[in-house]
């Protein structure tokens, strides 16, 4: 196996193998997935919906139902913010308890109104609170586990004959209003929901099941997660450009599930840079370490990041912070992935990890050198290996500004 390729690919199949050998290893964990007896499942869906990307534009999609789960315990299945103190295996076993009730759709089915199973899935997606759901399968769902770089782990799945919501969904006003607004662009709808304090998971759910925008489509969950991170991030980046620069160098740091984050906020015009360093023996890196960089300048990012969904998930929380303090800054993030991150949990780890880091009180510095040497002390990868890729730090250190020449 080529370690470099694996980190870039994260199970997408770039090596040409029919199955990802790294993801296959996790099959041994299948024993923690529940055994389902009979052809029907009943429980409170958190609510959660999953749309696969395999076979696009013909995809499988449907609700996730934890059998026998009560309404009070259901929200925890779909709420990354609540998993902060759990172990990786606990999260896997929690997620594996949800059974995926699939139906095959064409992504454009979202434009018609005739598919009753899609309409029921959409009703479920609208809800803010758990909804008791019953599904009848063609065959008993197999005991299995599914991992992915972007997606949160998932348990058994099967094709359904039918499913029913056993109660009415509770729909927030803002969600209701935007789901019926077919004149608003998906981008604008996402922002309005985000501003209305609708959680990212809820927005992703609406976008993926085809409830937002003008030309509606079903969108695979892995794409809609990153789309929401990107759309919200772009909006915040535009807003902070009207704010004055931060007044001093600030450094935040924190660790989440073996992912260590160092976030350096610099008094300059907006720009963002992420460096990922994967230590040997992490989930994707094999025996060698791997370092990569991606960045954007004042004008923002053109095209898709080479660091994939993690780039957008890391960018959003810093932009939320800058929007909140009404300041502009140049932001450098170093994400070091340690062997403690032994199973892929999904891109929420990055988003939540960044949020957690930004909640710690920042250290303040007079010089970039002092900040970098403090930061480097908490990172296992030697400074010499990553600093040469840090274009933003070099610009901050060496590029003068015109006001510097006013002193004479």
């Amino acid at each position: 196996m080529n370690g470099t390729l694996c980190i870039k690919c994260k199970g997408k199949g770039l090596c040409g193998r029919p199955r990802c050998p790294i993801l296959e290893k996790f099959k041994t964990l299948q024993s923690i997935a529940p055994v389902i007896s009979g052809n029907s499942v009943f429980g409170a869906s958190p609510p959660a919906i999953f749309v696969g990307s395999y076979g696009y534009p013909r995809v499988s999609a449907g609700p996730l139902i934890p059998p026998l789960a009560k309404e009070s315990e259901a929200p925890a299945f779909e709420e990354p913010a609540a998993w902060a103190n759990m172990q990786i295996e606990d999260i896997i076993s929690l997620r594996s308890r949800m059974v995926r009730a699939n139906t095959n759709f064409h992504v454009k089915d979202a434009q018609g109104k005739e598919n009753p199973l899609l309409i029921k899935a959409q009703e479920l997606a609208l809800s803010r609170k758990p909804v008791d759901t019953e599904a009848w399968f063609f065959k008993t769902p197999k005991q299995e586990l599914k991992f992915d770089a972007v997606l949160t782990p998932m348990g058994p799945s099967g094709l359904v004959k039918n499913f029913e919501l056993a109660e009415n969904p509770k729909v927030p006003k803002k969600v209701d209003y935007l789901a019926y607004d077919t004149d608003a662009l998906a981008k604008d709808a996402v922002l309005e929901l985000y501003k209305g304090d609708i959680p990212a998971e809820h927005i992703t759910r609406l976008l993926s099941i085809g409830l937002l925008g003008k030309a509606r489509k079903i969108v695979p969950t892995r794409w809609s997660i990153t789309a929401v991170d990107d759309m919200a991030g772009k909006e915040f980046a535009d807003r902070i450009k009207d704010f004055p620069w931060v007044s001093e160098i600030q450094l935040f740091s924190g660790t989440h599930f073996g992912n260590h984050f160092e976030v350096l906020i610099l008094p300059r015009a907006y720009s963002f840079e992420l460096i990922e360093t994967w230590l040997p023996k992490t989930v994707w890196s094999g025996e060698s370490s791997w370092i990569a960089e991606d960045s954007e300048g004042y004008e923002g990012k053109k095209g898709y990041s080479t660091l994939a969904g993690g780039y957008y998930a890391a960018r959003l929380p810093v932009l939320e912070y800058l929007t909140e303090i009404k300041r502009q800054a140049s932001v450098f993030v170093l994400r070091e992935i340690t062997p403690d991150y032994w199973a892929p949990l999904g891109v929420w780890v990055v988003r939540e990890g960044m949020r957690k880091a930004m909640q710690n009180p920042p250290k303040k510095f007079d010089s970039l050198e002092a900040a970098v040497s403090d930061l480097a002390g908490r990172v296992r990868t030697p400074e010499a290996e990553w600093i040469q890729q840090a274009k933003l730090l070099s610009d901050f250190r060496f590029q003068t500004t015109l006001d510097f020449f006013f002193r004479s």
């Binding site: 015009a269 907006y270 300048g297 610009d395 060496f398 590029q399 003068t400 015109l402 006001d403 020449f405």
Partner: protein, 245 residues
């Protein structure tokens, strides 16, 4: 009051030269012409733009200031023919600029100038060396440097002007003596500049016969050239990278 007519290509080139620095600018309109001074958001590059009334086919104006989104003007001039005449008239009462070009009449909404960064002060710099060269030569050197590095070193050593870029493994150097230059004033000069900026800044110089560079040691570079047969000029000031600490 502002009413003017000007060649479309001339206006497009002038606006394009400004657009490399900022997207939104304040145009100062005076009876003798229009001018702009603007810095980029990072405070690294400044553009100074002057277009005298003689550059226009018709020109009459009182003093005023308007805020303009340069991308919008570039879009509509992009459709015009090079030889077209652009007619502009300011409607002060409702903050619109009426633009007639190639039979199309645009009504362009102006920006409130107070929402755009104020005109910057221009630092008074004493730059010892001066080089006058053909714009295409400058552009060529910058293009060659881009392939190898992120930065370009520019300097004067005795009677030679040089540009040099060093990458991780490769390097490129262009030397020009007095005989290859239009003019040279020798002086101590050696400064490093980011190609992110230089690449955009030298684009408009490609068509220009004489570009004047003023340089110092670890000091900003002043790049200056005439447009519209001497009726206007564009200058840039770019802050250096200082890597020796």
């Amino acid at each position: 009051m502002f009413k003017a007519a000007i060649n479309a290509e001339l206006l497009r080139d002038a606006i394009a030269a400004l657009a490399v620095i900022v997207d939104e600018v304040r145009f100062k309109i005076k009876p003798e012409g229009i001018s702009v001074k603007a810095v980029d958001p990072a405070n690294v590059a400044m553009g100074i733009f002057e277009l005298g009334s003689s550059a226009f086919e018709e020109y009459s104006a009182d003093e005023s200031e308007i805020g303009v989104d340069l991308n919008k003007i570039m879009d509509l001039l992009g459709i015009a023919d090079k030889s077209d005449t652009v007619r502009m008239e300011l409607e002060e009462s409702n903050h619109k600029l009426l633009i007639d070009v190639g039979g199309l009449s645009y009504t362009l909404s102006l920006l409130d100038p107070s929402t755009i960064r104020a005109e910057p002060r221009v630092p008074q710099l004493e730059l010892p060396a001066k080089v006058v060269l053909n714009g295409a030569d400058l552009r060529r050197a910058v293009k060659a440097a881009e392939k190898i590095s992120d930065h370009l070193l520019m300097g004067v050593s005795e009677d030679t002007f040089y540009m040099e870029a060093k990458g991780d493994t490769d390097q490129v150097r262009l030397e020009m003596g007095r005989d290859q230059l239009i003019d040279l004033k020798a002086g101590e000069a050696c400064s490093l500049f980011s190609l992110d900026y230089l690449t955009d800044i030298v684009k408009p110089t490609n068509k220009v016969n004489e570009v004047t560079l003023s340089l110092g040691k670890d000091f900003p570079i002043f790049i200056d050239f005439e447009i519209a047969n001497g009726a206007g000029r564009i200058s840039y000031l770019l802050a250096p990278r200082i890597e020796s600490d």
